[in-house]
Symmetry: D2
Subunit: 353 residues, 4 copies
């Protein structure tokens, strides 16, 4: 029901359109007494914001978060945390030509089918700008998860056909050194080159974000409908442009036999084909999953489409956009994973009598 609400005990509700005065949200369920590190929260937003490098959209947004409640003398009080992020660099005029057009791959037509109306400026509520609020919520979740030492780390593992080779070990310290957020320098270079090419061609390209959640204790997640993997799947598919989710070996597991896939439960050493979750519950090993993003729908190349009158027209997009969404998607994936884990943590805590 709560289409704009995510989570049960640790809960984020968001509002806001791309071209309104501001976007924002409410974080409900943050336990009291947690130190609120504002520079960490703003830092997460900075990793998502447009204009951070020459492979992202040039829209200029400082994306400064203002906390309106729920924090007192530097700590959470247990009451809801309201926040807003003001929209600044709105060039709403850019979108006038889209008022009566359904852009291919976008939600223009579906919003109108659903609501009978839409705010056409900058995709309105369907804009990926909405995800900034998720990053704020996720940052608060991470402040909570830090208390039990859980670490959530995302990175770009593929852009189009360019993938990190299988034998490359993850070096987390290299992620933020790459503007595409790929921790393997040589793969990173190839990805950046491809994205530059796309930008020049006025086209876009898809990719994969991989996420690893470390130090999650065994026992988090609810079996049956709210399996930890199921909530992660919902969380990830709720991000704009995501078309696929897999945990552990994922679709690779469909091509395996039980005798090679079954994770041994052995002291000292183990395999992790299941990606840290069994029966919907964490088993103490790292939680591993992949999130597949389609190429950004907004491209500058001319495309055929329909307008509201049902006439076929040629569309040439003018708005600012990213040629590849995955570099900026990394903090969004981390945020959504953190929201899922914080909720699971608090729920599990409720059960220990």
């Amino acid at each position: 029901m709560p289409a704009n609400t995510f989570g049960e005990i640790f809960r984020l509700t968001t509002f806001g359109e791309s071209h309104g005065p501001s976007i924002g949200g409410i974080i409900d369920g943050m336990p009291a007494g947690i130190e609120i590190d504002m520079s960490f929260i703003q830092g997460q937003l900075d990793r998502r914001k447009p204009g951070q490098s020459d492979i992202t959209s040039p829209r200029k947004e400082s994306d400064t978060v203002e906390i309106l409640s729920g924090v007192f003398e530097g700590r959470s009080t247990g009451t809801p945390i309201g926040f807003i992020i003001k929209n600044k660099d709105q060039q709403s005029g850019d979108y006038d030509h889209l008022k009566d057009v359904y852009r291919p791959g976008h939600a223009d037509f579906t919003y109108e089918a659903k609501y009978g109306t839409r705010d056409h400026r900058g995709s309105g509520r369907a804009s990926a700008r909405e995800t900034a609020c998720r990053v704020v919520g996720g940052a608060f979740a991470q402040l909570l998860l830090r208390k039990v030492n859980v670490q959530v780390t995302g990175y770009v593992s593929a852009v189009h056909e360019i993938q990190i080779p299988k034998n490359v070990a993850l070096n987390k310290s290299l992620i933020e050194q790459s503007i595409v957020r790929c921790p393997d320098p040589s793969t990173s270079e190839k990805m950046i080159a491809l994205i530059h090419q796309m930008k020049e061609e006025g086209d876009s390209v898809g990719g994969v974000v991989t996420c690893i959640c470390e130090n999650v204790p065994a026992g988090w997640g609810e079996p049956v409908f709210d399996k930890l993997n199921a909530k992660l799947a919902q969380a990830m598919l709720s991000i704009n442009a995501v078309k696929g989710f897999e945990v552990g070996d994922g679709f690779g597991a469909t091509r395996k036999q039980g005798s090679e896939h079954n994770d041994a439960i052995l002291d000292g050493q183990y395999t992790n084909h299941d990606g840290g979750i069994q029966g919907g519950i964490s088993n103490g090993r790292p939680i591993l999953f992949n999130v597949g993003f389609k190429p950004v729908s907004t491209i500058s190349k001319p495309q055929q489409t329909l307008n509201k009158s049902g006439e076929e027209i040629t569309l040439e997009a003018k708005g600012r956009h990213d040629p590849c969404v995955v570099p900026r998607a990394v903090p969004i994936v981390e945020a959504m994973a953190s929201l899922v884990l914080a909720d699971a943590m608090l729920l599990q805590q409720s059960k220990k009598i």
Copy 2:
């Protein structure tokens, strides 16, 4: 929170362990006045039940559903529909040797980590037997969806490396003629042969179920956190042994450019790379998704694992099991998809002022 509840307006809550007296559930939110076709509901259960062919578990269960409330003179009354399915062929003794053992790939260890205890007989609540209740709930959802002509159809598109070739068109009438529920006869034969081989070897194998939802009107699904694809992802990942979900071109989309992936919105003809959902809302085209299942964890081959005392032991499973879960998973995938769609239908209906 409601770990054993799925859906908001159309809502299924289930209970039951593999080796208790019965499993069952409550369907809440079924509108009044819908004709209840009991033979359809039982027929869906029959498609899921064990022992239906020589490639499924030999456990003998009639899986007869008994409706306890909410239906009067052949029609739904709008009140909750309680139902039970009695467990019959329980061979609990088969599981005595597992009391103190954590089986690889299973939820034995995680349930115990979560709850401090578990019913070890037949995997208890973690048993796939629980999914029979989903099939009942989904069948009621389908009775509702029929009213608007929505059709949900699943089939097996891959077993291990064996896939339906790309150029084969879907012939829905062939699905149920194949015991593996693959509509391409020559692929079906190969799949069945491989499953027989696994059975002989005491091993198991994974696979993929593909699902198509036809005639879903444009406008279903909630944007942002409850996108239609996000709820489908949660629904699918909540099924035992599922490790991946993708909608439309899915992970294939990550290797595409926007100019080739963007679905044209044109009269008469269209592409459907997005799989019928844009911005989280249905666009009127068929909804298409894939669900990846890992190989069944229970195998007869000897495996190394730990017991509760932390000693390494060799496990040779004795319980009855399926060498490949996908043939029986088809009605489960359909059921979960139907639950998602019925909920979306009722919610969308609430909004039209």
Copy 3:
């Protein structure tokens, strides 16, 4: 949404009509490892069942609860607890004459307005028989609350104009010695005499149940919309025939000045005008509230009403009924209060980092 579900973390969902094969429910969220005292649970049902004394309905129901899941070797497992209570003494024929009649004070007309249909036998889902499932759920909640020594005690404080005098101290041991569940023997006698008179006259009479919850620690309950008193109010008004709820001094407080009503916070001694809850959160003092029940709508005296064709007719009820509902309502009030408190307990536990 979940009209047949109550609670968030500790959650009861029920089903069943008065004249179906059985009623039942699912308790979700019971922590694992709690000893399940079946005789206590059945004992609570016995306090609610009809035919327990000559002032209650003569319908004969053993009201035997059968647990179908979630309990293993005498303890809760953390998985959902399914249960049923079979209907036995159904005299559905008694209700044939009511098929086309809207009984005054009943839900016949409103169910039909809502659903376009109704199961007219014994009030269907609107029957107070539904509350038996609440008593089961509440009994499980009490088993949980016992762990922290919380005690929930209800009793009849008024029947019609007959009230326990203000100066009589509560002696809990006398409650169950009175068939009307009034702990003051002389008041109890007068109540019983009045109820006998009503029975003879074919009429009915209202009354008040008072409830005291002891040893609730300070800090339970959520401020703002889910205040502990607000959830108790919903819980109580959800019981059939309840028309009023007040906590602490209740409506009496509306006729007071702040200087006399404000509870002193002093060591050793205190007043409790607020009834143990301030700002929606328990303060450690006993929680006190009153629940007002209207007279049972079913009476044998002839009444004028309408039938479905809109004709005015004279109705003479034949079904079996209680001349006064409050004696049997005591365990129902206790059950609903226990469900609210168990949920509050688990939620508060989730917050302690």
Copy 4:
């Protein structure tokens, strides 16, 4: 769970403390296309704001609402409506002396018991200032309810012992002509005189708000746990200082016999002892209920209480406060009732196949 969220399909979430930069909220589920009458919304806030007459708190707040999203070209878009109300006349210094004191009748002690901390300035989240956001949410709900002509009207029916005489018919046009919002001029005068006296004495006094909801169609409200009266009860008890709720004859019904209380269902004329709701579902007659408020806890008279060190001290409050809360509570009661009804309206709409 969602302690700061109210409603299922039509849903309000709020945040904000009395002395932060602003309070605000998010309205989710407003159907698209509804004309948003900003002057109506601001007008409802004006009825609640302090300083509106000499019998209310002198805190000066313009209480100007700013809409941040969800409204486009004067109409709702179906997306969440974010709003804020800036706090202006904060005199936080007034509260320094309360930092270590638990005020009698207040939530100071309980918040600290729950959260281990509290924002002591102006009662923080426990301040009635929070209800301004409810008024905004309720005003949007009323804009929706107008579409089906539902009218929600509250008024003050009692202050301390002063009640509107039974034989006085309700003249709705007189309500807003009285600063105490009592539609009977002679009773209104007496109430105002008493409140002035309380103000002089530094004391406070309780009272009753009565509410009537007209033109609610038959069939709204869910039976069993979410009965329309049960949701109204939760809604009302969730308002600060409310201690009692009764629907129809309420506690008066406990002193009646069935033969006098049962509402006749007759053409043309009817009684309405049940207050428009039967079996939890509206019956088409006016919905009538009373809400009892305790005297405001903040008084200027010296009171004995404890500080954090457990020492007994004498407290003399300095903050600004209302000697009687009911005049300003009228729009809050209306708002909460409207939220309940809007939710019931949308939910009922979802069920008509």
